[in-house]
């Protein structure tokens, strides 16, 4: 099942009891959205292919104490409407949840206009955002439930494609923490830290000798989880992997998060290069070509020696 369907199904379930929930789309669909629209036509707002107006409309609805979800393809929701996000939910502290679908190279068949390789850094810089990048359906479901229960200005980054389950699953305590660590924490291990789809690639990259590593799934990168620092303060080396261009990617976020608690381990960033990608070949092809193959991720961990 797609992450977007998991998320929207949770909203649909809640809508039958809560008339204050609104779902806005800039002409972006989902099988689950067809059901939502059919069941709750008054609470679904088609905004046209107008991400900027959608955010402004969302602000108006939120000013009237409604719980508002806006939904669009990641590159357009993030960069096209970023000033509306600042001036609406940002400046007025409005509980608008932005559901951004197709992060990274998710729309690899479409080309660079449809890639979202800069959205993370852009939205990190907007004051007051909470940022989530789930790697599986369980986390996606927990985020949706949380945003329905305690609405806030949030930027939720969903993958275009279905993602495998994580094992063990993210539980309620993990959700509160904002991360989950896979593997036993030991001083001499290297920590592999990532989020979203690419976290699965990290798990696969180190499968053969996974006991030498711990894997940190940082599904909530903002606010940065303080508890993570406490748990990993004995680890010296962190490889941070992100399907974003390097400026302001997850490695910057981790560095700043650690720095705030005076923790300065060695951090190696593995991200996409600073360029746009016009090559054809699909997501795996592009990841392999531009340094994010599982082999390259594994090789990067050897730079700590």
């Amino acid at each position: 099942m797609l992450q977007r369907d998991i998320f929207i199904d949770e909203i649909t379930k809640k809508m039958s009891k809560d008339k204050k929930i609104y779902f806005l789309s800039a002409d972006f669909g989902a099988a689950s959205l067809d059901k939502l629209r059919a069941q709750f036509p008054k609470n679904f707002v088609h905004c046209g292919i107008s991400e900027q107006a959608m955010l402004d409309i969302a602000s108006g609805l939120a000013l009237e104490k409604n719980k508002v979800f806006v939904y669009a393809m990641a590159p357009f929701l993030s960069l096209r409407a970023i000033e509306q996000a600042k001036c609406g939910p940002g400046l007025m502290n409005l509980p608008i949840c932005m559901i951004s679908v197709g992060i990274g190279l998710g729309y690899a068949d479409a080309g660079p206009t449809h890639y979202a390789n800069e959205d993370f850094s852009c939205f990190r810089s907007i004051v007051g955002t909470s940022i989530y990048t789930p790697s599986d359906n369980q986390t996606t479901k927990l985020i949706a439930k949380d945003m329905l229960q305690k609405p806030k200005f949030s930027y939720v980054r969903l993958d275009r494609d279905a993602q495998k389950d994580l094992n063990p699953k993210i539980n309620n305590q993990d959700y509160k923490n904002g991360f989950k660590i896979f593997g036993k924490i030991e001083k001499n291990k290297i920590a592999i830290l990532s989020h979203g789809k690419i976290f699965h690639d990290c798990l696969n990259a180190f499968k053969k000798n996974e006991k030498k590593y711990i894997f940190i799934n940082l599904f909530r990168s903002k606010p940065f989880p303080q508890k993570l620092v406490k748990l990993v303060k004995n680890i010296k080396n962190f490889l941070v992997v992100d399907e974003q261009t390097p400026s302001g990617s997850l490695a910057s976020c981790v560095y700043e998060g650690f720095r705030d608690y005076k923790f300065f381990p060695k951090i190696i960033s593995k991200s996409l290069p600073e360029r746009y990608f016009f090559e054809n070949g699909g997501r795996t092809y592009l990841l392999n070509k531009f340094g994010l193959s599982q082999k390259e991720i594994y090789k990067a961990s050897r730079n700590f020696r």
């Binding site: 107008s50 107006a53 402004d56 108006g60 609805l61 000013l63 009237e64 000033e83």
Partner: protein, 267 residues
């Protein structure tokens, strides 16, 4: 209130704003003076309904041209929404009042300043009122210059599609933006054809004629359609030193003679 009373109030508010700007040496008098009759008509013409007990307005007014929001402060003070103490503190440290309005200021319904946002936000409010069967209206005042923003047109299309008749947009057409006349910068004319071309009910009025404004506002209030009022105005209206002068978008230093002349004009 009679039309004459509203005209007197518009003059009074211009005087008070001028003295404040003179004191603080900042503000956007040109843009405020061009829309003064519009906001006086809305507040004192009975369009924005006031709950005396709660000291709040039932209907909403969003000043999309946020640099002119301070036009509302003396009006809100007269209604007791902004205290005299706060009014007197304006321009001093820790004052709530500032050039651009924000929602921390009593009676200000939106944080604005960046142009092109408020028709969309007004539409969101209007949808909420309709869905909840709330008898409330939203008025949005935008500058002519906001017609350069794509989001303005996105929101106009949306409001028309939904036929949000509890939303009225008033466009303050003073023909000047920072660098000059709109016809010379990037021509917006004919504005009426462009707005009505979207199928929007459009009324064109003299934006300084309160009788005209009140009449148009009554028509839009009774309409079953989403509607726009095109208010033809003069930037800096009422102060001959400022009228139709692009450099009076912002506060400019004044000579003693100019100050004297402006005070006389605004009597």
């Amino acid at each position: 209130m009679q039309i004459n009373d509203l005209e007197s109030l518009a003059k009074k508010y211009r005087r008070e704003i001028f003295e404040k700007f003179l004191e603080t040496q900042q503000g956007h008098p040109g843009s405020i003076f061009s829309m003064m009759e519009i906001v006086v008509s809305l507040y004192h013409g009975g369009f924005l309904r006031f709950d005396k007990n709660k000291k709040e307005f039932l209907d909403k007014l969003l000043i999309s041209k946020g640099h002119a929001t301070s036009a509302l402060y003396p009006i809100l003070r007269d209604y007791g929404v902004i205290s005299n103490t706060e009014w007197n503190k304006w321009g001093k440290n820790n004052s709530k009042l500032r050039i651009f309005g924000n929602t921390s200021i009593p009676g200000i319904d939106i944080t604005s300043g960046s142009l092109g946002h408020c028709i969309g936000s007004g539409a969101g409010m209007a949808i909420s009122y309709k869905n909840n069967n709330q008898d409330k209206k939203v008025y949005v005042v935008i500058s002519e210059g906001e017609l350069y923003e794509g989001s303005t047109w996105e929101a106009l299309l949306f409001a028309k599609h939904r036929e949000l008749n509890n939303l009225t947009v008033i466009i303050d057409i003073n023909s000047l933006i920072i660098l000059g006349n709109t016809t010379e910068c990037v021509n917006l004319n004919p504005i009426k054809d462009k707005i009505s071309g979207l199928g929007i009910e459009t009324h064109e009025v003299d934006g300084h004629n309160i009788d005209n404004l009140v009449s148009a506002l009554k028509t839009t209030d009774d309409s079953k359609n989403f509607s726009c009022i095109l208010a033809n105005t003069v930037k800096g209206k009422g102060a001959s030193v400022m009228e139709n002068k692009k450099n009076w978008h912002y506060w400019s230093p004044m000579t003693k003679e100019e100050i004297k002349k402006t005070r006389e004009d605004l009597k």
